[in-house]
Amino acid sequence: MVHHLHSDMIRIASIGLVSAYLASVAVFLLLSRRIRVNPRGVMRALARSVVPRFSGVLTDIRHEQGYCHIARLGARPMSDRDGRSALVVFEDGQPLPHPHSNRDEIRVRGGGRYSHWGEAVFFSSRDNTDPSCNGRRYTVRET
């Protein structure tokens, strides 16, 4: 019993000390640019690991132009305007096929093209029917 307690304490101390040491070496290697990473990518990954992922149902859907419709999110997860959105639009639970699409492409070609821009989602249904009245459910989730 005492032996087990002793080895557990050594194990925990090893993990703590080595973690702290490796973290300080990592900072040194990054600051001295011996290891190079994209700092924005790192910050984004860190933010995504601590901030809860956004999800919701698109309810207030309005026609924009052509096949394009717009829905407001009421929140602002990182969009294509700020970098690269991690938002996926689902039609009856199935992801629409073309994220990060150009607005004109959504308007002219539709076919499930969409873009997350600022606080809104610009999207088209998969078969170019009107998503505000085609009876399907549209949801979003940050991946």
Binding site: I10, R11, S14, I15, L17, V18, S19, Y21, L22, V25, A26, L29, L30, R34, I35, V37, G41, V42, A45, L46, R48, S49
Partner: protein
């Protein structure tokens, strides 16, 4: 005594100082010039310590069988061996082979299964693990020795292989050059060393710091961290850590990844090399038929003319 279980293998041994033949007298191998080398726990010892490779002594005695196909009941090591050397069973059956840097015997296991007579040497106490794994095989002999002072006569082996070893020596090309004289004329040497690209480059930056961590402590950390990474394969924070500190995720199981993460950061030396550099070592050694046998671009094979 088990050290002479196969006469052909035993006769391959020679005094590393004067290269005279050795005979077993008492508990030591002795040459005619009275140089003596102890046999401890049935393993001939041509070095007194494990010098700069203590981390390998630790890891291979902790993971004696983790990478051996015979114990894993798969062919993962065989596939790696084929890709890095281009050898198949027909190339090695009946051949006398030196496995320089045997470790726990991952590749000796493959070659012995294919019918080669294999001498496996290692500077580290990994020889204890290798001997444990092959003690019942008549076609394997394990000895503790340094590549820079090999206990053989020149031109002894049909084939010399050294996979993932030479970059852990103080001077990769010099240690490669030390192996070549032991290949018979017409024999083949095949090596693989770390390439100067990708994760190997990143790890090289860490080595001066991580090799100073006591083995037991770093291993305990690997045993904690790697399972955590396994449980959360898509975690963005761990993905971010991977870019800075590439840990193992080879798809060969948790124990393999713990071992391989420890292996990647604990050695004293971690050379990285370009394919052209490796090819040049072969040319400088006077080898012919030099070629890269597979998809690993720093794997190289050549024939001693």
């Amino acid at each position: 005594m088990a050290v002479v279980k196969n006469r052909r293998l035993f006769d391959a041994l020679a005094c590393p100082i004067c290269q005279a033949s050795l005979t077993l007298r008492g508990d030591a191998l002795r040459c005619s010039a009275a140089h003596a080398f102890p046999v401890v726990r049935e393993i001939p010892r041509f070095v007194a310590t494990d010098d700069y490779v203590d981390s390998f002594s630790f890891e291979w005695n902790t993971h004696k069988t983790t990478q051996l196909d015979t114990f894993r009941q798969d062919t993962s090591s065989e596939e790696i061996f084929r890709k890095k050397t281009g050898f198949g069973p027909d190339d090695l059956r009946g051949k006398l082979v030196l496995d320089a840097g045997v470790g726990a015997g991952r590749f000796t296991d493959v070659m012995a299964r294919w019918g080669a007579d294999v001498v496996g040497i290692d500077l580290s106490f990994a020889v204890e693990a290798a001997h444990h794994n092959f003690r019942d095989l008549e076609n394997v002999l394990v000895a503790q020795a340094d590549i820079a002072h090999l206990p053989f006569k020149p031109e002894t082996f049909d084939v010399v292989v050294s996979i993932g070893v030479l970059h852990h020596t103080p001077d990769t090309p010099r240690y490669f050059g030390a192996l070549v004289p032991y290949v018979k004329h017409g024999g083949t040497i095949a090596i693989w060393v770390y390439p100067a690209e990708g994760d190997f480059v990143t790890r090289k930056q860490w080595i001066p710091f991580t090799c100073r961590i006591p083995d037991r402590m770093f291993y305990e950390w690997c045993r904690w961290f790697v399972p955590l990474a396994h449980r959360h394969p898509n975690n963005p924070l761990l993905g971010c850590i991977y870019r800075i500190f590439p840990f193992s995720r080879q798809g060969l199981g948790l124990e393999n990844d713990i071992l391989d993460t420890f292996d990647g950061y604990s050695p004293r030396f971690h050379g990285i090399h370009a394919p052209a550099e490796v090819e040049q070592w072969f040319k400088d050694a006077g080898l012919t038929d030099i070629h890269n046998p597979g998809p690993w671009n720093t794997a190289m094979r050549g024939v001693r003319p």
